[in-house]
Amino acid sequence: MLTGLLLAAGSAGRGLIDLDLTSLPLVGEMLAEHPTIAWPLLMLAIGCGVVIGYITVFSLLAVYAERKISAFMQSRLGPMEVGPYGLLQTAADGLKLLAKEDIIPRDADKLLYIIGPIFVFTGVWLSFVVLPYGPDLIVADLNVGLLFLAAVASIEVVGVLMAGWASNNKWALFGTMRMITQLVSYEIPIGLSFVAVVAISGSLSMQEITLDQQGWFWNWYLFRNPFLFVGFFLYFIASLAETKRAPFDLPEAESELVAGFHTEYTGMRFSLFFLAEYAAMYVVSATAAVLFLGGWCTGFAFIDSWMMESAGFQRVLANVVGLTSITIKAWFLVAVMMWLRWTLPRIRLDQVMYVCLKVLLPFSFGVLVFSTLWELVTDGTLFGDWWPLFQFLISIGGFGLLMMNFMAKERPYDIEADFRPLRHSEVHAAPDAGARG
């Protein structure tokens, strides 16, 4: 909520909250003298500050949540020492990271080594520009918002390449190569999921995509048609890979590559990578929320209509409601990411490529083609106003049937069945060892 208020303050430039900045001593003078330069600069400064603050606070909370989630899944207590229930643990860790010595390896390419993490962080940071948080809470409602998002996400690749190559460390190089292979490949299924959504919404603007999903929650694109329902899962899996979360965390697979491309990094630079990772988690989750889960729309028709119609102070309240709505959705997806991470083993590089090129890619194409076809055929009005509800029921019903199928079959490994003793002849095909000589 604190971050929400900060963000609300950040969008003061849109005339929502009437702050008289011109009355401030130094800033006021500058604003009066050079209004065309100073105003954008001021807005930029405020925006940067707000986004950085948001990323930091989100990361602190997300790290704490991740630790607690993992702990509870593993029958542990998790951090308990610093603060009540260990709440300040991540803050303490952050302070420790900042206070740590900044080491640059002697044989590293210093320039690239230094700007690598900045690139990575910038890529993620820019993504926040187009994320809508409420009817008016958006830094820039670009008409190519989704394209912008896909574009800035690939800046990360450059940053990682710089960092990994400049570290002059073999493990870092391994991690970099894995990371780049993975990021570049997984942009395709992600892009296709975007296109599938754009084909239906008819717009690349994040705000317009959100507005298209107003009303009851069966209006969300997730339930728009059964193919987009699958598309959501495809996007979610691909976004796991995009943010290098388990089971796709092999760029920094700690049991294989020590720490991957940021092996050599310490202190502040490491924490930039760290923040970028958690911020990226938030970005992809919020994007998923916007594309499939109605963004800042609440899923209740009357609230949504109130949010759009309100004015004045109620408008501010509406923005806060929208912010809460999207935050809850994004947090839920982040929690699922954590849940997956603490359950699954890591997959191998060739399997990562297999999943991308042979599973996600054909499926994404299928989703794109068939969901468009579905839209064309049904024309959105097959059963009048109740059509969205029917589609919702179709999606949920299909999902339910699949789940029932999963639950109905016997468990994958029945320990009793695997324990039938072997016959002697089955076992004793003792080969000739000595024949090797």
Partner: protein, 216 residues
């Protein structure tokens, strides 16, 4: 199995696994770890109040000083030679700790070496059984030197203690010298007595030289 079968199986097993973790996540009763109460957070009297420490627990040693006979059995059997005993059984030393007919100036265990194998307690002879393993286990420190424990005072071994033991060492050596001297004197006296006896016997024998011959 095929392409779709593979995807189906993998997703199914993933959901099964997620079911297990979710079961643990939602059930707080499954948490098995407990918060360790660090020494500085414990009260004065709670030093040993750590839950579920079995009776058998092998912690840091304690010594029944008045029982110790300074037999060096524990130091002898120790596989890592971490026990040092200094003292004397020859007599009083000022400031020394009174054992069972022994004056102990030093009985330390270096816990940077000790492997808690309990062999010292096993080796302690039945007449004394003075060294035991206690239940305290929290013996952390920031430098290796302060891991040496003085069993005589049950505290960490300090530099002051070292000064005392070095001072006492000369006294112990003196006592040993004295004992040696006394022993030598006693030996000499015994030798003299024996010589005198022998001489007397020889005299006696000389006086009766034919006695053995009589037997033949």
């Amino acid at each position: 199995m095929g392409y779709f079968g593979d995807i189906y199986d993998v997703s199914k097993s993933i959901l099964t696994g997620m079911g297990v973790t979710l079961k643990y996540f939602v059930n707080p009763k499954t948490i098995t770890t407990v918060q360790y109460k660090r020494p500085e957070r414990r009260g004065e009297g709670e030093l040993h109040e750590v839950p579920h420490l079995p009776d058998m627990h092998k912690g840091i040693h304690y010594l029944e000083t008045e029982e110790c006979i300074m037999c060096w059995q524990c130091a002898n059997i120790c596989p890592v030679d971490c026990i040092v005993i200094e003292g004397t059984r020859d007599g009083e030393v000022e400031g020394a700790y009174q054992g069972n007919r022994a004056n102990l100036t030093r009985f330390t265990i270096d816990y940077s070496l000790c492997i808690y194998c309990n062999l010292c307690c096993e080796a302690c002879p039945e007449t004394s059984t003075c060294i035991h393993m206690g239940k305290e286990f929290d013996f952390t420190s920031y430098d290796q030197g302060s891991l040496v424990k003085n069993l005589l005072t049950d505290e960490k071994f300090t530099k002051e203690d070292l000064r005392f033991t070095t001072n006492a060492q000369s006294k112990i050596e003196e006592l040993a010298e004295e004992k040696k001297r006394k022993a030598a004197e006693a030996q000499a006296a015994r030798k003299a007595a024996a010589a005198a006896k022998k001489a007397a016997a020889a005299k006696k024998a000389a006086s009766t030289p034919d006695t053995p011959a009589k037997k033949d």
